[in-house]
């Protein structure tokens, strides 16, 4: 992962870790623990791939393209998981773009 996106990793790990742990331990939804592991895995893969901005955008498009296909083949549970991933992806995108925006403003 390029230094540009490095900080995102920590913000998201903290955020996702908190919500997943609260959800898993307090509200007893162990299924969310799987999301947490997968998310960490994703970050590891992204670190290994060292993606540039284009690849990052393509990941988003890929996620978005996946949802209608999953809806058409009626794999709704998987579609929901992907939608949650997409949501997280959009959060990442916002944080990255917001940081850029602040930098440019300065």
């Amino acid at each position: 992962m390029s230094p540009k996106y490095e900080f995102v990793k920590y913000i998201l790990i903290t955020f996702v870790a908190i919500f997943t742990l609260v959800d898993t331990l307090v509200l007893r939804n162990s299924g969310e623990f799987v999301i947490f592991i997968l998310f960490l895995l994703w970050l590891v893969i992204m670190t290994l791939l060292k993606p540039n901005k284009d690849i990052f955008n393509k990941i988003g498009m890929g996620l978005f393209a996946l949802i209608p296909i999953l809806v058409i083949v009626r794999l709704f549970e998987v579609a929901e998981r992907v939608a949650i991933w997409l949501f997280l992806y959009l959060v990442v995108k916002c944080v990255i773009e917001f940081k850029d925006y602040i930098k440019n403003e300065r």
Binding site: F19, G31, N57, I72, F76, E80, A83, L90
Partner: protein
């Protein structure tokens, strides 16, 4: 042709506007079809466009026949104002105009927002974005609902002005004024508070987004806006706060419908996800066009549009637009988070707020409240993404691409374009939204006007529930009684459509329908003068127990009321036009047999001698502890006349004291309903509930893995809530027992004892928590967990008793049993048995005791020492005989239950062996075939006739789980079973069926008893009581919050009753009043009361006179007849005449606010004029 001039005025935006004007006209035509109105469900309010009346009062008689705080105050500037302003148009035309403007302004508002973000508006990007914003799948949910349509305008418009205000470089008076004005114009949205507050979300987010840019000026602008908003909206906030503070808490706690965790993120992404989207009601889906959105092409198109908008693949934004693009991206994510509600995985905060923050419960449908924010965010993002695309493409292909994108957007909008989202089907109580009002309703309305019927209470028969259907030529469905749209603004329809919001008077009204033979005296006593028989109400599909026309006619016939006018006739030809698509042949036939040659509407009048005036003085008092539901019972049984005052609910069972004690001695009778003292619950009647599971264990307790299990259990105990901890301990001790059971052969005695000790420790921890908590009867979780603890503990003990552990003499287990017994004592409280009553009386003396309508005798009771008096159980329980036992297969037995009756409570109890595979008990109820044609039919096992058998699911009680061994007999362990059940309707006979799964009979001491509802009351008749002399009364309604009352010829003490719902804020003031030359509108000679003509004076200077006056008799203001206002006047000074103003004092706040607004506007206008003058002068 003058081309430059043409070019000057005709530009692309004007053409676009013209296209929109024409398009919306056609679109509206499609939506309406041939209908007169678009109305139905909650949107029946459009029918009131012909009322032409505003109600700027804090007390409202239209919402409630007996008055209530005006929680619909925000709507004053909504449909009420429109009905007045558009009074020159017919109702249908006015509705068309309103909808046309609402639809049109939705586009305009969105355009304004876009123009602010990108001043050089691109038509290429605008048209698709507008289509997505206005005609998306989310908008299919409410095709013509007033508040969502208003919101769709206000949300973008308020955001646009907010952006302008926030980004301005001066203190922006102009925008502040516009924003404030908008908040007033759009104040009707506040009738739907959760929807209304959503407009602040984008604004607050924008402040956060620009947090680093906040400076004094921006803070000043924003604070000025929100302060102005609060000040300018106080006029409707006040009654709403009062309503929420009083009634809403009750509403929240009763069956509060909630859809906080419904839907999916993948659906929300493309504007879908309403709770009922894929739900069916009766014959059809709520949204029959839902299949369209599942079409492969539509799925791809709808996701493509949203994906394109959010991902913005061709990022060529200018610096200014980047900011907004990013802002709307953040807004879309935030709104998605809100839309998700309490759904996983991000919903825990929402869930916490929903369950713990008072008032947050109004956000019970997050999708419908927040999705529009997401829609607007996506639509603006789409616009920005399309601008980028436009920059990239060759001009040659631009038109083709534009056409292609518009087609894609139109594909996603097809159901909206063709009006498929307007409901038109016959579906039980759902009927078409395309409504044509039958002529007879208009005739009824005209009749009331022509005959000057004004200020009257009209009760409708049959009862109208929320969501009732009417058999109109096209059909009609309404949330409220349709009659309210036709009785005019000054008559009131007596109804209680929603039980949860009806209050005490709601109970009283419902009782009228529940009585087999209601009488006109009682209706008159409540001040009801007319009865409207609505034969066009579809009794078949409008809730349970709605009586058919023939039954209603018979009831009215028995009442002896006089029919004064019929409206409309259901002849054979007319009935052919009424949709009747029920799939049930009997129901289909019923419509014709019941309605043929009957009048559609009939108006009846109650004998005017029996009708109580709005303000009157009663002659005697009946003092009772019965609640409002007992009013008709006391009234009818004791045969009192209408000049009687009933003081109900006079015993505070918490304080154990009587209310209005000063009136006890004046009362002619005391009718007491001793309250039953119930335990927290009956421990022996706890059923093993559906959601309770006995643990399954798969980890060997001596393994290393089991250490992780225990570690995880310890982590799970890290909780703040004691109740959650208790739940965990229940689970853990059950697991230990199950581990001993499952791995019994593989564990050493030492290992088993280790698990056993853990079991003891967990149970003890459970007892510690229970003992540390106070008994809270109102907390369902607490009570539920106590039940669960008891049943799991019993079951665990039962399992332990069958194992090879030598624990019978174990001190710790005996200690647990002792704690268990103490817990049962705690649960039962001070309960003195099953039929235990609080017999505290208000006055010493002899009281006639009546049980289940049987006089038991007369006995002396005193105030001091009769708190509890157990009654003989046989007064409430009747032993029921069981017939001869017969075999049913090899392992089951059955017997007839003698004299089994419908709709009765029965108690069954027996002891059974716990060390057998299974024992289950069922009551099989026999229903005559003609009564239940749709049930499965089979032959009776003991009669040859064809009958229908229905196993009452409530009564089909499998003895799930295993209970604690209560006693041992002949080496067998026995437990006790006991339950109370209710028999179904139309029962002819019943059998008791026991299944054993063994040839042995494992049941003994079986008993069935009929349980009578313990109707216990005490009546004391006073030989000496005060009979009040009634004075002469004249009154006049000046407006809903103000009455003139003249009381003359006063002889001693007297009581005044005001037949409107009790509110402490109704006050009486002494003030000289004049009825100058006023003729009498109504005369009530029996009551010595005259009513002057109803007036409608919004404001009069004489209103200020009461401001400085102290209210009269305010300490003696009480609830009369269970719902109304009553005042007791002690006439020590011997006055003979009283001139009074009866006022609902909160209305003063409205006047003050109005004066404040006028002053504020005058000051602003003054300041602006001076500034303009100075500017002009300086020039």
């Amino acid at each position: 042709m003058n081309l430059p001039l043409f070019k000057k005025y005709i530009n692309i935006r004007l053409i676009l506007l013209l296209v929109l004007l024409v398009f919306e006209a056609i679109h509206l035509k499609i939506l309406f079809g041939n209908a007169e109105y678009l109305a139905g469900g909650d949107n029946y309010i459009y029918l009131q466009l012909e009322t032409h009346k505003m109600f700027p009062y804090y007390w409202n008689n239209v919402l409630h026949p007996f008055g209530s705080i005006n929680f619909a105050m925000p709507d004053t500037l909504g449909m009420q104002l429109y009905s007045v302003v558009l009074g020159f148009l017919s109702g249908p035309l006015a509705q068309r105009l309103i909808l046309y403007i609402l639809y049109l302004f939705r586009y305009v508002a969105f355009y304004k927002l876009i123009k602010y973000i990108s001043p050089k508006v691109s038509v290429f990007a605008l048209v698709p974005a507008v289509i997505v914003y206005s005609l998306n799948a989310f908008s299919t949910l409410d095709p013509f609902s007033f508040f969502p349509l208003l919101n769709a305008i206000y949300l973008p418009l308020s955001l646009y002005y907010f952006l302008e205000l926030f980004n301005s470089d001066n203190f922006n008076y102009k925008t502040l004024f516009k924003l404030s004005l908008l908040s007033v114009i759009f104040s009707p949205i506040n009738s739907n508070i959760p929807l209304a507050v959503t407009i602040f979300i984008p604004q607050l987010l924008y402040i956060l987004f620009n947090f680093n840019k906040l400076n004094k000026l921006k803070i000043k602008n924003v604070l000025a806006y929100y302060s102005l908003w609060v000040i300018l909206n106080l006029w409707w906030v006040f009654p709403l706060v009062k309503y929420f503070a009083s009634s809403a808490s009750t509403v929240f706690s009763i069956n509060w419908f909630s859809a906080t965790g419904v839907g999916n993120t993948f659906m929300n992404l493309r504007f879908l996800g309403q709770w009922a989207w894929y739900s069916k009601h009766f014959l059809y889906y709520y949204y029959p066009f839902n299949a369209y959105y599942d079409n492969i092409i539509v799925v791809l198109v709808t996701y493509f549009i949203v994906g394109f908008a959010l991902l913005n693949p061709f990022n060529k934004n200018s610096a200014n637009i980047i900011k907004y693009r990013l802002y709307f991206l953040v807004l879309s994510i935030t709104s998605l988070l809100f839309v998700g509600g309490s759904r996983l995985p991000f919903g825990f905060v929402y869930r916490f707020l929903y369950e713990n923050l008072f008032g947050f419960k109004i956000f019970r449908e997050p999708f419908t409240k927040f999705e529009l924010i997401y829609v607007i965010a996506v639509s603006v993002s789409l616009y920005i993404a399309l601008i980028n695309l436009e920059k990239l493409i060759n001009k040659k292909y631009k038109t083709a691409l534009f056409g292609g994108i518009v087609i894609l957007c139109l594909i996603s909008a097809k159901p909206v374009l063709f009006g498929e989202h307007v409901w038109t089907k016959w579906n039980g109580n759902m009927r078409t939204f395309r409504v044509k009002i039958p002529e007879y309703w208009k005739e009824f309305r005209d009749y009331l006007v022509e005959n000057s019927i004004k200020g009257e209470k009209i009760i409708t028969f049959p009862k109208v529930n929320y969501g009732t259907a009417w058999n109109w030529p096209e059909g009609f469905t309404s949330a409220d009684d349709v009659a309210i749209s036709f009785v005019g603004p000054y008559n009131y329809v007596v109804r209680n459509t929603l039980t949860s919001t009806g209050g005490d008077i709601g109970i009283i009204i419902d009782n009228i329908y529940n009585i087999k033979n209601p009488n006109q005296f009682y209706l008159g006593f409540l001040g009801i003068r007319y009865i409207l028989l609505e034969n066009d109400l579809d009794w078949r599909y409008s809730g349970s127990n709605i009586s058919p026309p023939s039954e209603n006619l018979s009831k009215l016939g028995n009442m002896g009321v006089q029919k004064i006018k019929d409206f409309g006739m259901f002849d054979t030809e007319y009935l052919k036009n009424i949709p009747n698509s029920t799939p049930f042949p009997n129901d289909n036939k019923l419509l014709y047999t019941e309605l043929e040659n009957k009048q559609a509407l009939s108006l009846y009048e109650i004998n005017q001698n029996y009708v109580n005036p709005l303000i009157y003085s009663p002659t005697k008092i009946i003092y009772s502890t019965g609640d409002s539901s007992k009013l008709s019972e006391i009234y009818n049984r004791e045969g009192f006349d209408n000049k009687t005052l009933f003081l109900l609910n006079q015993y505070d069972s918490h304080k154990k004291s009587y209310i209005n004690e000063s009136l006890i001695g004046l009362s002619s009778k005391h009718v007491l309903y001793p309250s039953k003292i119930d335990p927290l619950f009956f421990p022996e009647r706890i059923d093993w509930e559906e959601g309770w599971f006995w643990p399954e264990v798969n980890v060997f307790p001596a393994s290393l893995e089991h250490r992780f299990v225990r570690l995880w259990e310890n982590i799970e105990l890290i909780r703040f809530s004691k109740l959650e901890k208790l739940d965990r301990y229940i689970w853990f001790f059950s697991k230990r027992v199950e581990e001993i059971r499952k791995y019994s052969n593989d564990l050493s005695t030492e290992q088993k004892m280790g698990l056993f000790n853990d079991y003891i420790s967990s149970v003890n921890k459970g007892f510690e928590i229970i003992n540390s908590l106070p008994v809270d009867e109102t907390d369902d979780t607490y009570v539920g967990l106590l039940k669960k603890f008891i049943r799991y503990f019993e079951r665990s003990l039962a399992y332990l008793s069958t194992m090879d552990l030598n624990i019978t003499e174990d001190k710790s287990i005996n200690g647990l049993k002792e704690k268990y017994n103490n817990l049962l004592i705690k649960v039962m409280g001070e309960n003195c048995g099953e039929y235990c009553f609080d017999f505290k009386v208000p006055k010493n003396g002899s009281y006639k005791l009546n049980v289940n309508n049987n006089d038991i005798g007369v006995g002396d009771l005193t105030v001091e020492n009769k708190d509890y008096a157990p009654l003989r159980p046989e007064l409430f329980l009747e032993k029921i005989e069981i017939g001869e036992w017969k075999d049913f297969g090899i392992t089951s037995k059955f017997a007839e239950i003698k004299n089994f009756l419908s709709n009765q409570k029965y108690k069954i109890k027996f002891d059974y062996k716990t060390n057998v595979p299974k024992t289950s008990v069922s009551i099989v109820e026999e229903i005559s075939a003609e009564k239940k044609t749709d049930a499965i039919q089979k032959k009776s096992s003991f009669e040859e006739d064809l009958h229908v058998f229905d196993i009452n699911p409530i009564n089909n009680e499998g003895l799930k789980g295993t209970r604690y061994c209560i006693y041992l007999e002949d080496g067998s362990c026995y437990s006790h079973f006991e339950t109370i059940f209710t028999s179904k309707n139309d029962i002819q006979n019943a059998i008791l069926l026991l299944e054993f799964e063994t040839t042995e009979n494992t049941v003994k001491n079986l008993q069935i008893q009929r349980v009578y509802e313990p109707k216990v009351n005490l009546v004391r008749s006073e030989e000496e009581f005060t009979e009040f002399n009634i004075p002469n009364i004249a009154y006049q309604k000046l407006n809903p919050t103000r009455y003139k009352v003249l009381v003359e010829n006063i002889k001693g003490d007297f009581i005044l009753v005001f037949n409107q719902n009790f509110d402490k804020k109704w006050k009486l003031f002494q003030q000289s009043i004049i009825f100058s030359g006023e003729e009498t509108a109504k005369d009530f000679p029996n009551y010595k009361v005259t009513e002057k003509p109803v007036k409608d004076i919004f404001w009069d200077m004489s209103f200020v006179k009461t401001l400085i006056k102290k209210p009269v008799s305010d300490n003696n203001h009480f609830i009369a007849n269970g719902f109304a206002n009553g005042w007791y006047f002690k006439n020590d000074s011997g006055v003979v005449k009283l001139e009074l103003i009866l006022e609902y004092t909160p209305q003063r706040y409205f006047y003050f606010l109005l004066a404040g607004y006028i002053l504020m506007i005058s000051v602003i206008v003054g300041v602006v004029t001076v500034k303009l003058y100075k500017i002009k002068k300086s020039k």
